[in-house]
């Protein structure tokens, strides 16, 4: 927490505070810190490229400006070829965040689509979709990304976004499917069905709104991974090296030996920015988790007995939800998944 405190004094991003006063205050502290931290960088991404002091690609030929440590005119110093690090950083934040958010949107949309349809179609469809999801979960994404992007001649932003989204949907799909299965059996869904609502309307108006926190968490996770992956890809050099992103900054710093030359101002700012954005996302996600699961919240307000926190008991679990309506073929498919071993309700049936 100490790492983020100095920045949280600035109330940059206060989502929907006007809409419902008091909601911001009821949010877990971690989520607040995360939102503020992230807000600062989103702000930097929006106005940053407009206020860059120099053209990030401009190579100042003055020999004294090669690898100059930070000073008044160049607040974050210069690179070996006399480029302004601060300008590169401001442009780079925009490009990196833009990519990550777009990947988050596309991949999360795919996860919702796959997860909800798997749970709703059920039976063999469910098992086939789950199988595909599980297969893509175990295949490591980064090496595949490198091969895919390595073959592309034009490694532009769009290509990277598409390839990343294509590989990052399975995580979300898995949890959203599980949640949809749990919600599907609830009474209010049966009620909606009885009143004659169409399946599509049930999905869009009853199911999805109940999964908003889960979808948000999956979005935040995807954005987090997309930032890490895109920066790592750029660092290896599988990207458009002529554009300025946080990853390409690190690539040039590494390939021109910034570390060996002692030019910390060249590689620390982009790396630290990635770390701070990442920390903001992790905090936000933990906050969302706590919002959905009150047990994880700070124990400060809970009552204590003999040094232990007293907690409310679990609601009685509804049995048989997961195993309901599983035919022979789909039971066969299901038996190949790891979860078949851990399903409580499947027990002695087979």
């Amino acid at each position: 927490m100490t790492a983020v405190l100095p920045i949280s004094a600035e109330p940059a991003a206060v989502p929907q505070e006007e809409a419902r006063p008091g909601r911001w205050r009821r949010m877990p502290a971690k989520a607040k810190a995360g939102a503020v931290l992230l807000g600062v960088f989103v702000l930097a991404a929006i106005i940053g490229p407009m206020v860059t002091p120099y053209d990030p690609s401009y190579q100042n030929p003055a020999p004294s400006l090669s690898l100059h440590a930070p000073y008044g005119a160049h607040l974050l110093g210069t690179t070996q070829s006399g480029q302004d690090v601060l300008s590169q950083l401001l442009v780079g934040i925009r490009l990196t965040l833009e990519l990550a958010f777009l990947v988050g949107v596309v991949a999360t949309a795919l996860s919702v689509l796959v997860g909800v349809s798997a749970a709703f179609l059920g039976g063999v469809w469910d098992e086939v979709l789950s199988l595909i999801t599980n297969v893509f979960l175990v295949i490591p994404a980064l090496p595949l990304l490198i091969v895919l992007l390595g073959y592309l001649q034009t490694r532009g932003q769009t290509a990277t976004i598409l390839v990343l989204s294509f590989l990052l949907w399975p995580w979300g799909a898995r949890v959203i499917r599980a949640q949809t299965l749990a919600i599907r059996g609830r009474d209010f869904i049966s009620a909606a069905r009885e009143t004659g609502e169409k399946t599509r309307r049930i999905i869009t108006h009853e199911i999805v709104p109940n999964e908003v926190s889960l979808i948000a968490a999956s979005f935040v996770n995807t954005v987090l991974y997309a930032i890490g992956a895109s920066v790592a890809l750029a660092f290896i050099g599988v990207t458009n090296l002529n554009s300025w992103s946080l990853g390409t900054m690190l690539y040039w710093a590494q390939s021109q030996q910034a570390l060996q030359l002692g030019a910390w101002w060249w590689f620390v700012p982009p790396g630290l920015t990635v770390a701070l954005i990442g920390a903001g996302l992790v905090l936000l996600n933990t906050g969302i988790d706590e919002l959905g699961n009150p047990r994880l919240r700070d124990a400060a307000n809970a009552s204590r007995i003999a040094g232990r926190w007293l907690r409310p008991a679990d609601p009685t679990p509804v049995l048989g939800e997961l195993s309901q309506g599983r035919g022979r073929l789909s039971a066969f498919w299901h038996s190949f998944s790891r979860s078949s071993l851990l399903d409580e309700h499947q027990g002695g049936q087979r």
Binding site: M1, T2, A3, V4, L131, N134, V135, L137, V138, I139, P140, A141, L142, P143, L144, V147, L148, G150, Y151, L152, Q153, G228, V231, A232, F235, I236, G237, L250, Q254, L259, Q260, G262, W264, F267, V268, G271, V274, A275, L276, I277, G278, A279, V282, L283, T286, N293, L296, D298, A299, W309, D314, S335, F336, S337, R338, S340, L341, L342, Q346, R350
Partner: protein
């Protein structure tokens, strides 16, 4: 059919999917290995194209189906063709050279991080709101740092500013690799900083996950009953709560292995560590497509194997699973 056997079938399917994707990528994308060699040596005659194809084993004679069958056959025999960038060497010999480095380093460091993170998570979950629990946001900051950037910082602080650790490489330049003490001690010494990077950056993830499951498990009735019975805390924590909380943790481990390996690969580049990651970088910079693809396959197979091992551990750790696996 036992559970392990079923999982084996699943991993074979996953491996087959990876193989098939790998087969179709070069055929669906523009650019190939021969073109990359041709562009590197501009004075080659266009007639050399066919000769190069034959030499590199990347020519596509016959129908797609025949190509596919011979491709699967090649992979089964660990034959990935001849390398483009380090020409006479075969791709498989390069892999055999580098794979042990990565597996020993990344494997050991990941297991250490998992064990330490899990134990810390147990403590943080039990003492919910305690000092270790409150340190979590700081640890999460560590987790958010990209592996390779953390590696850069450690290198700067501990190898360049303070000469405690060597600057990169897998062993001292003057040594000949072999099973003698000089080499082994040097390799161990060189692996300390990369291992530290993996442990420090991945520990928070394991800890957070274990803590969350622990907190939920502690709320279960049987844990409260065990406490009410007056069992010693140690027994309640480890035999009642942690043992059950460990199962989702193990599942998570299986899924996260691929993520950790990917991060570790990029980290190797920073340390010039002679593993698969550095080989991958060389493959990328020299447009060495056969090598890139072979590395993708080898990493995928390793991750699948790690997952299978996790499944076996789950069966042994969970009596319910053991009973069900026998069905």
């Amino acid at each position: 059919m036992s559970f392990i056997l079923r999982r084996l079938v699943f991993y074979l399917v996953a491996a087959w999917v990876a193989l098939t994707i790998n087969f179709f990528i070069p055929r669906a994308m523009p650019g190939n290995a021969v073109q990359s060699v041709m562009s590197k040596f501009p004075n080659l005659q266009p007639a050399a194209y066919r000769a190069l194809e034959a030499l590199l084993g990347v020519g596509h004679p016959g129908s797609i189906w025949n190509q596919y069958v011979s491709y699967l056959d090649d992979v089964l025999h660990f034959n990935f063709g001849t390398d483009v960038s380090q020409y006479p060497a075969s791709v498989s010999s390069l892999l055999v050279e580098t794979l042990p480095w990565t597996i020993v380093l990344v494997g050991t460091a990941t297991v250490i991080a998992f064990l330490v993170g899990t134990v810390l998570g147990i403590v943080a979950g039990w003492r919910h709101g305690g000092s270790l629990d409150r340190a979590l946001p700081g640890l999460m900051f560590l987790q958010a740092i990209p592996y390779f950037f953390f590696a850069l910082i450690l290198l700067e602080l501990l190898a360049i500013r303070v000469h405690v650790f060597p600057i990169g490489q897998g062993y001292d330049g003057g040594l000949i690799p072999g099973w003698h003490w000089d080499f082994i001690s040097s390799a161990l010494y060189h692996s300390l900083l990369p291992a530290l990077t993996i442990v420090l950056t991945s520990i928070a993830g394991w800890m957070l996950q274990m803590r969350n499951v622990m907190i939920t498990t502690i709320g279960e009735d049987y844990v409260i009953a065990a406490q009410a019975k007056g069992l010693p805390n140690r027994r309640v924590i480890y035999t009642y709560a942690a043992r059950n909380a460990l199962l989702p943790q193990l599942q998570g481990f299986g899924l996260a292995v691929g993520f950790v390996v990917s991060g570790a690969l990029v980290m190797e580049i920073v340390f010039s560590y002679p593993g698969i990651g550095l080989l991958l970088l060389n493959a990328v910079t020299s447009n060495d497509y056969p090598l890139m693809q072979a590395i993708f396959l080898v990493i995928t197979f390793t991750v699948l194997l790690a997952n299978l091992i996790v499944d076996i551990i789950i069966v042994f750790a969970d009596p319910r699973a053991r009973a069900r696996a026998a069905l």
